[in-house]
Amino acid sequence: MTDDEPDPGVPVFEARGVSRTFRRSGTRGRVLTTALDGVDLTVRPGQRLGIVGESGSGKSTLIRVLDALLPPSSGEVLFRGRRIDNASSRQLGDLRSSVQMVFQDPRSSLDPRMTVGDIITEPLRSPLLRSRPDVPRNHGERLAEVLEQVELEADAAGHYPHEFSGGERQRIAIARAIAPRPDVLIADEAVSALDVSVRAHVLNLFADLVRSDRLTLIFVSHDLAVVRHVCDHVAVMRSGRIVESGPIEQIYASPAREYTRNLLASVPKLRVRTASSRRTATEVPDEMPPGPDDPPA
């Protein structure tokens, strides 16, 4: 497939030395926590980039900074060659009209008081998107189109999110994201909250969408095995830094870092316990140095 060659044009996203700290009031006054620590990242058009890491590694903060939902504390973020860190909302028109997001938990990402139809067409009603020529004008038509694309019944539009199962809700969130025909789709742990049996369905949907619409995809997950099915590149994050990155198959087959190997080994696999295997339940080392389970939430 020749489509997989990354376009040599301007990168979609470029992060240069991006850091982000959060101020949190703890028991002994205010504490500064570093969520991102000098991250450099380039996303090329058509690339399907996976970002993996444990919770607290900074992956969610990174995509929120990329999507200008959070300003970085220092460093530069560029979208198609233009600075978007600390830009005013008027200067973000290009970003807002080209990038859409899918979040982890559809219970939180779908407004419980809006019908599915209103939710999906909301981006189409955005003043920024109306100015773009290729954004569908006919909302009803586009709604029917995307509902079919995510394999939901057409009459779903009149119902409320709580009437659907977790997997269906995540498909509604995906329908909302693709409704304005974005160039870039950012998915934040989009399958982590779903049952394993539903996960495959949603992953297939992502794979189809990316292939047919030639989207640039940024897919955040803590599960390398999942990322492998939708991405061609991967960046591994730990403690706010990118510790390893490259083509997915290379990293999946031979990770350079101990940390990445642990991530891979931790994915539960089907196995049959026998008396002898009881001792070696999983190949994960007891603690990953320096090793707290994960930073306090």
Binding site: G166, S197, K269, L270, R273, P296
Partner: protein
């Protein structure tokens, strides 16, 4: 080995709907039984019924016998005597399962004192010992911490300590690692495996993830819409699933064996939810 938990023709209804359509299951002493199914399949309801934690509006019929005691129709005080002593539960969300206003050590000690009437000094010793046994670093400090000061993994470890401190005969785990990261999940699962072994406790392990169940259990029950569609030793079920739904679950769990770029198998490839209903 005798049967520790014996459930016969258990039916549970809410309002007009029935959530559980008469299930039978047996957990032997020290056995590890996994219940797998999607959300709404009735797996959690089964666990809650065994713990006596169903809401008042639930209609329960059939029989749940735990170590010879009939639990259906047992009063709340009767259940309270069993809970934390003979049977204990590990919940999905450790943050909500712990009281945010109470120090971790006191919460663990409370379970101990409630059932064993241990004096405060002895209880504290035992709590510290238990916290270190579940692999918490610096158990003295952890016991003085509030739940929000711990990480998700540490909270789940504290819950495991709480569930096992009275050496119960049965531990019910309801999706104990679903809220955790893969790496933390792997460590917590291994800890659970070791601790159950050490305590010799039986376990009823509820999950939507067949791979997770296979890390801890020897037997598995597959539930679908309030009935058990398949059961047996894990090896046998994985090797030769009888029900198409089970075959679908196994296929979706083997995501690592599918070549990237190919569509992942979904349940619907195996079963449309209609044919072969038991």
């Amino acid at each position: 080995m005798g049967a520790l938990l014996r459930i016969r023709d258990l039916r549970i209804g809410f309002g007009r709907a029935e959530a559980l359509h008469g299930i039978d299951l047996t957990v032997g002493e020290g056995a590890r039984v996994g219940i797998i199914g999607e959300s709404g399949s009735g797996k959690s309801v089964t666990a809650l019924a065994t713990m006596g934690l169903l809401p008042d509006t639930a209609r329960v019929s059939g029989s749940i016998e735990l170590g010879g005691r009939q639990l259906v129709g047992l009063s709340d005080t009767g259940f309270a005597r069993l809970r934390g002593d003979v049977v204990s539960m590990i919940f999905q969300e450790p943050m909500t399962a712990l009281d945010p206003t109470m120090r971790v050590g006191r919460q663990v000690a409370e379970v101990l004192r409630l059932h064993q009437g241990a004096p405060a000094g002895r209880a504290r010793e035992r709590v510290i010992e238990m916290l270190s046994q579940v692999g918490l670093p610096d158990p003295e400090r952890i016991s003085m911490s509030f739940p929000h000061q711990l990480s998700g993994g540490q909270r789940q470890r504290a819950l495991i300590a709480m569930a096992l401190i009275n050496q119960p005969e049965l531990v019910i785990c309801d999706e104990p690692t679903t809220a955790l990261d893969v790496t933390v999940q792997a460590r917590v699962l291994r800890l659970l495996d070791e601790q159950l072994d050490a305590a010799g406790a039986a376990c009823l392990f509820i999950s939507h993830d067949l791979a997770v169940v296979s890390q801890v259990c020897d037997e598995v029950l597959v539930m679908y819409r309030g009935t058990i569609v398949e059961s047996g030793p894990i090896a046998q079920v994985l090797e030769n699933p009888q029900h198409p739904y089970t075959a679908g679950l196994i296929a979706t769990a083997r995501i690592d064996q599918i070549e990237p770029g190919r569509p992942l198998p979904v349940i619907e490839n195996f079963w449309d939810g209609k044919e072969g209903r038991p």
